[in-house]
Amino acid sequence: MTATRHSWTLALAVALGCARNETPSGAKASAPPAAGLTIYAAQGGEVTDPVVDAYREKNPDLSIQIIRGGMGEMLSRIRAEREKPIGDLLWGGSPEMYAINDELFARAELPDAGHFTLTDPAGKWHPYSNNVIYLVVNTTRVSRVPASYREIIAPEFRAQGPIAFSNPVVSGTAYTILTSLVTVAGWDFVDSMLGNVWLTDSSDSMFKWVKDGETAAGFLFEASLRDYLSSGAPLQPVLAEEGLITQSDGAGLIAGGPHPESAFAFLAFMASREAHEIVRTKVGRRSARDDVAPAKGLLDLTGKKLIRADPVWVGRDRAKILARFDEARERS
Amino acid sequence: MSRGPVAVQVEGICKSFGREPALADVSLTFTPGGFNTLLGPSGCGKTTLLRSIAGFVTPEAGRILIGGEDVTHQPPWTRSIGFVFQSYALWPHKSVFENVAYGLRLRKVEGLELERRVRALLETVGLTSLHDRSPGALSGGQQQRVALARALVLEPSVLLLDEPLANLDARLRVEMRQEIRRLQQELKITTIFVTHDQEEALELSDTVAVMSRGRVAQVGPPEAVYERPASPEVAALLGGASFVEGMVSEEGELIVDGARLALGLSRDLAGKRVRVALTARRMSVVAD
C-alpha cells in the first residue's frame, strides 16, 4: 500500500511537472478551457457515456469534451498533434496498440492497478473491459452452426458464403483474432481461411457484414452480439472447441496533454469499483476487474476454454506476423 | 465648347497580338475639329488603333498625343475621350438617364447641374422623352443615340466611334450617319470614326486614312483617296468610285456635260453645284 501511494504521488508529481512545463500560448477560442478534460474516444457512446455521466455528476464544474472516431483515426490525430496535444486521454484499444505507439502516451500508476487481470508493465495502458470475440454465423446463410474454427474452412461451409475479416495491419481487433487463431489452429488454417474471406480495413464493416447476412460468418464482440440478438438479428455464436478469443480494451494518458491532472483523476475513476459496477449494469460489458461480475447476457466464462496467445510473441514479432499475413493474402 | 478643337496624333505605333502584328509603325495626324475616318477591311488594325487612342490597348512602341500631351501610358479613365462602341455597350441595369449621367456622377456633379447637362445632351440627340427607359426597351437607333449622348456629355477632347452603324439596318444607317455628321459639325469636336463601309467614309469624312494589314496605305480627303489611289492595293480596297461634278436641277437630277442623271438628289440642293461620288453598286446598265 505504501509503495502504491508513493507511486501514485510520484505519478501525480510527474503529471504536475508536465503541466508546469507546458506553456499554453495566447488565448485562442478553440483551446480547451482551463479546467477541463478532452477525451479521444475510439468507442461508441454506449460504452463511454454511462461512466462519463457518472463522473460529470461528481464533478459538475468540470467541462468534458469527447471526440469520437475509429482507433486509427484517433491515433493519427494524437500523432499529428504531438507538438501541442489537444487530447488528454485516449479511450479504447488493446495493449499492443499502446505498446506500438509508446511515445504518444504517459505512464500512470493507478491506485486500483492490483485488481486487474491484465496489466501493462509500462504503465501506459489501463484496462477497462475484457471482451470475448466470437466467431459468429448468420443463420440466413448457414444451415448448421459449426462447433469449431476448423469447420469453417471445410468445403461444405465455404459453399454457404464468405467469412468477414478485418485487416490486422490496420485493426487491433483483427490482430488479436489473427494471433489467437494462429495459436490454436496454425498458419495453415489462416492460409486456407483467406481463400474465402471478405477482407476489410474496418472492423465495423466486418461486424455489419455478418449481421446483415452479406457474409456467412464473421467475428463479433460479445456485447454487440447480445445487442443484435435482442433486436432479432439472425446470428449464432460458435462456441469453438479450440477455445474463445478474448481482447481487452483500455485507456491511456496522452503524453503532454493540456490537463494531466484531470486526466489522471478520470483514469483513476475509470479504474474504480464504482465505475466498473456501472460497466456491469449500464454499459453491459465484461469488466476487466477481478472483483466485478460480467454484465447480464454475457457468457459466464468459468470453465470455458480461453485462447491465450503468447504476449511476448504478439508484441515482439508483430512485424513478422503481419508480413506473414500479407504473404498469405497475396497467395489467396 | 470652351476650348478649341483638339489635335490628336499618333507616331510610330506598333502592337502585336501573338505573332501577327496588328499595327506596324503607324503614324497619323488627325484633323482637329474634323471628321477623321479609319477605313479598311476587317483585320487591318483600324479598331486596334482606335482602342489604342482610347487607352484600352497599350502599344508596344510609339506615342499617342492628345492636345499635344503624351498620353501613351495614361489609363483610359484619365484621358479626355468619348467612346461609342459597335455594340453600344449601354449598361442594362441603368436607365437611359443614368447611363448618360454616370460619368458626371463620378465627377461629383449632382442635383440640378447634373440634370441640366444630361437633359441638354438627350435633347441634342433627340431622346428627351425616353430618359427613364431601360436600354433593353430601346430600338437600335435609339440605343445608338444614348451611346452618343453618353460619350459627349463629358465634353471630351476626342470622340471615338468604333463602327457604330454596323448593327443598324440600311435605312437607319443612312439616317444615323447624317445625324452623327451634323452633331460633329455643330460641336466641332475632333472625331475618329472607324468603318469598313466606303459609303460612310465618303459621305462623312474630312480625312480618310485607308488601312491595310496594320499599316496606313493612304491618307487624304475622300476624293483624293478615291480618284488618286496611291497604290493598286488601295484601289482594290475601295472598289472604285467615280466622281462627277455638275448642277442639281429642280427635279433632283444632276446635269453633267449636258446629260441629265436622275440621281434623286435632295431638292434643297437645287441650283447648286455639287460633286457626287458614284459607287459601282449604285449603277446598272439599262437598254434605252
Binding site: E73, K84, S202 | -
Partner: protein, 554 residues
C-alpha cells in the same frame, strides 16, 4: 513601362499576384509534405520510388488502384449511356413536365452522396427489405453489396449531373446545322448522331470528366456498399490512419497517384476537345419538335422510371426516419422519436454545418470571383496559366489528402488551427474554390467587356467599373453559384472526417457514423439525413425558381 506604371495602369495585376501567393500557400504548401513523404523510404532517411512501385507490385495496393480505375470507367460509361439519350429527347423535343424534369435533375446533383449506398443496402442487401421477396419469387438475386453495388449507386448518383450538362449542350445547338444535314439527305436519326452528338461533345466530355473524377475520389459509397472491393480513397484513409502505426509513405504515394489519375483524365479531355472547332454561327436556342404520341409516352415513362431510381434512396431514408430503430435494425411502430432526438440532441450539428458552409462559401465566392475576373478579362503571360492551374489543383486532390496536408501545416505555432472551426472552414473553402471560380467565369462571360470599357471611357477607375457595372450584372449568377457551393459544402464528408472536433461535428458526420455502425444511432441518422436533404433541396428549389437560367452546368 516600369512595374509601378504597369500596376497603376492595371491594378488587377496586383490582385492576380496576391491571389497566386494565397493559392500557393493554401493549396501547394500543404501538399508538398505529401510529395516529400511519398518519396521517403520506410527508414525515413533515404529517398526512393519504392512507394509508388508497390502500387503495382503489392496486391493490397494494386487491387485498390485497379478497382478504382475500373469503377470509374464503368460508372462513367453507364451514367453517360443512361442519361444522355434522355437529355437529348428532352432538349430537342416537346415533352411534358420539362420544368419539373430540370428541377429534379438539379436536385439530384446536390444530393448527399453517401445516402444512396445506405439506402440501397436497406432495400437490396442480402437481408434487405426486398431481397428475400425477390428470392422467394425465384429470382437469382443475391445481394447489392459488391462491385456492382458501387456501380449501381454511382450511376444513379451521377446521372442527374450528366442529364443537366447534356441537356444544356443539346439545347444550345444551332438547329440549322442539323437541318443542313437533313437537306443533303441524312435522315433525322442520322443527323442527330453525326451532327448533334459530336457538337455537344464539349458539354458531354465535361460531364464525363466530372463523373470520372468524382468516382475516383468517392469515399462513402464504396466504404458502405463495396463489400470486399477495396478502392483507393478508402485505402488511403486507412493507410494514414492505420492503428498499427503510421505509414505515410504509401498513403502519400497513393494520394499523388490519385491526383495523377485525375489530372490525366483532365488532360485527355482537353486533348480530345483541342483539335476541334466548336464555333457556331448562331446562338439561337433550338426550337423543339414533337414526337409521335407513342414515342412521347415511351420517353415520358422512361423519364419517370429514371427519376424514381435516382430518388429511391431519398424516399427510403425519409421513410425509415419515421421507423423505430433498435441497434441499427428498423421496425414498426412509426414514431417521431428520431426527430425529437434531432431537435433535442443534434441541433448543434445542424447549426455547425450551416455556419461552416456559410463562411467558407462566402470566402470561396469572393476569391472565385476575383480569380474568374483575372481569367476572363486578363491574360497575363505567366500569371494567368499559373493561376488557372493553381485553381484547378484543389479539385484534383481527394478530400482526405487535402485534410492531412492541412493538419500537418497548421498544427504548429503561430498558425495553430487544428481542432478548430477554422481549419474545417479552410478545407471547405479550398475545395470549393474551383467550383466558385468556374461559376463566376460563366457569369462573367455573359458580361461583355465593352460594358466595363465604356465605364472606363467615362472616367471610372477599374475599381469603380467593377463596383458599378460588373458586380451588379454578375450578381444573380454569383448568388446561384454561391448557393450551389453552399450546398456542396453542407454535404461534404471526406475532409470533415479528418478535421472535425467535438464542437465541430457536422450533419454528415452524424449520418456517416450511424451508417458505419460506429455506435451511432440509425434513427437519428435518418432524421438528420432528412434534415440535410431539406436544407439542400429547399434553397436549391428556390434558387432555380428565381434564376431559372442559371447554369448548374457552369
Amino acid at each position: 513601362m516600369t512595374l509601378l506604371q504597369r500596376l497603376r495602369r492595371d491594378p488587377w495585376l496586383l490582385v492576380a499576384l496576391f491571389l497566386g501567393v494565397l493559392l500557393v500557400v493554401l493549396v501547394v504548401v500543404p501538399q508538398l509534405w505529401i510529395v516529400r513523404s511519398s518519396l521517403l523510404a520506410r527508414d525515413g532517411a533515404s529517398f526512393t520510388l519504392e512507394n509508388f512501385l508497390r502500387y503495382l507490385t503489392a496486391a493490397r495496393y494494386r487491387t485498390a488502384l485497379l478497382n478504382s480505375v475500373g469503377l470509374a470507367i464503368v460508372t462513367t460509361v453507364l451514367a453517360m449511356l443512361v442519361a444522355t439519350p434522355l437529355a437529348f429527347f428532352h432538349a430537342r423535343y416537346r415533352l411534358p413536365g420539362r420544368d419539373l424534369v430540370l428541377t429534379l435533375a438539379t436536385l439530384a446533383t446536390a444530393s448527399p452522396p453517401f445516402l444512396g449506398a445506405y439506402a440501397w443496402i436497406m432495400l437490396l442487401g442480402y437481408n434487405g427489405l426486398l431481397s428475400p421477396a425477390l428470392r422467394d419469387i425465384g429470382l437469382p438475386w443475391h445481394s447489392i453489396v459488391g462491385f456492382h453495388g458501387i456501380v449501381w449507386v454511382g450511376v444513379w448518383g451521377a446521372v442527374g449531373l450528366v442529364f443537366l450538362f447534356a441537356h444544356d449542350a443539346f439545347a444550345s445547338l444551332d438547329q440549322d446545322l442539323e437541318e443542313a444535314a437533313e437537306s443533303v439527305g441524312a435522315r433525322r436519326a442520322r443527323a442527330h448522331f453525326d451532327i448533334a452528338l459530336p457538337l455537344a461533345l464539349p458539354g458531354l466530355l465535361t460531364a464525363a470528366y466530372l463523373v470520372l473524377t468524382g468516382v475516383l475520389a468517392d469515399f462513402g459509397t464504396p466504404r458502405i456498399i463495396g463489400g470486399p472491393v477495396s478502392v483507393l480513397p478508402v485505402l488511403l484513409y486507412h493507410e494514414f490512419l492505420s492503428e498499427g502505426g503510421v505509414n505515410p509513405g504509401m498513403a502519400s504515394a497513393g494520394s499523388l497517384i490519385s491526383v495523377g489519375l485525375a489530372t490525366a483524365v483532365l488532360l485527355l479531355q482537353r486533348l480530345v476537345l483541342a483539335g476541334r472547332s466548336y464555333v457556331m454561327s448562331g446562338t439561337r436556342r433550338v426550337a423543339q419538335r414533337t414526337l409521335p404520341s407513342w414515342a412521347t409516352v415511351a420517353v415520358t415513362s422512361a423519364t419517370a422510371l429514371f427519376f424514381l431510381l435516382v430518388f429511391v434512396p431519398h424516399l427510403v431514408i425519409a421513410f425509415s426516419s419515421f421507423l423505430s430503430w433498435r441497434a441499427d435494425i428498423p421496425g414498426l411502430p412509426f414514431t417521431l422519436d428520431n426527430y425529437r432526438m434531432l431537435a433535442l440532441r443534434s441541433s448543434a450539428p445542424v447549426f455547425v454545418s450551416y455556419a461552416l458552409s456559410a463562411v467558407s462559401t462566402l470566402v470561396a465566392v469572393v476569391l472565385g470571383t476575383l480569380l474568374a475576373y483575372v481569367a476572363v478579362r486578363r491574360s497575363y503571360r505567366w500569371l494567368s496559366p499559373s493561376l488557372q492551374a493553381l485553381t484547378m489543383i484543389p479539385y484534383l486532390i481527394p478530400g482526405t489528402v487535402l485534410a492531412i496536408g492541412l493538419i500537418v501545416v497548421f498544427n504548429r505555432e503561430p498558425m495553430r488551427l487544428t481542432g478548430t472551426w477554422m481549419i474545417l472552414a479552410l478545407a471547405y473553402f479550398i475545395r470549393k474554390v474551383p467550383y466558385a471560380t468556374k461559376s463566376a467565369e460563366a457569369s462573367l462571360y455573359q458580361v461583355h467587356e465593352n460594358l466595363e470599357e465604356a465605364a472606363l471611357s467615362v472616367g471610372a477607375t477599374p475599381a469603380q467599373a467593377l463596383r458599378d457595372v460588373t458586380a451588379r450584372l454578375i450578381l444573380p449568377g454569383l448568388v446561384s453559384g454561391a448557393t450551389l457551393t453552399f450546398l456542396m459544402t453542407l454535404t461534404e464528408l471526406s475532409s470533415t472526417l479528418m478535421l472535425y472536433g467535438a464542437a465541430t461535428t457536422t450533419m454528415s458526420i452524424v449520418i456517416y457514423q450511424a451508417a458505419m455502425g460506429m455506435g451511432g444511432q440509425f434513427g437519428l441518422a435518418a432524421s438528420t439525413a432528412v434534415a440535410m436533404m431539406v436544407s439542400v433541396y429547399v434553397p436549391l428549389y428556390l434558387v432555380r425558381k428565381r434564376f431559372p437560367s442559371s447554369g448548374v452546368a457552369a
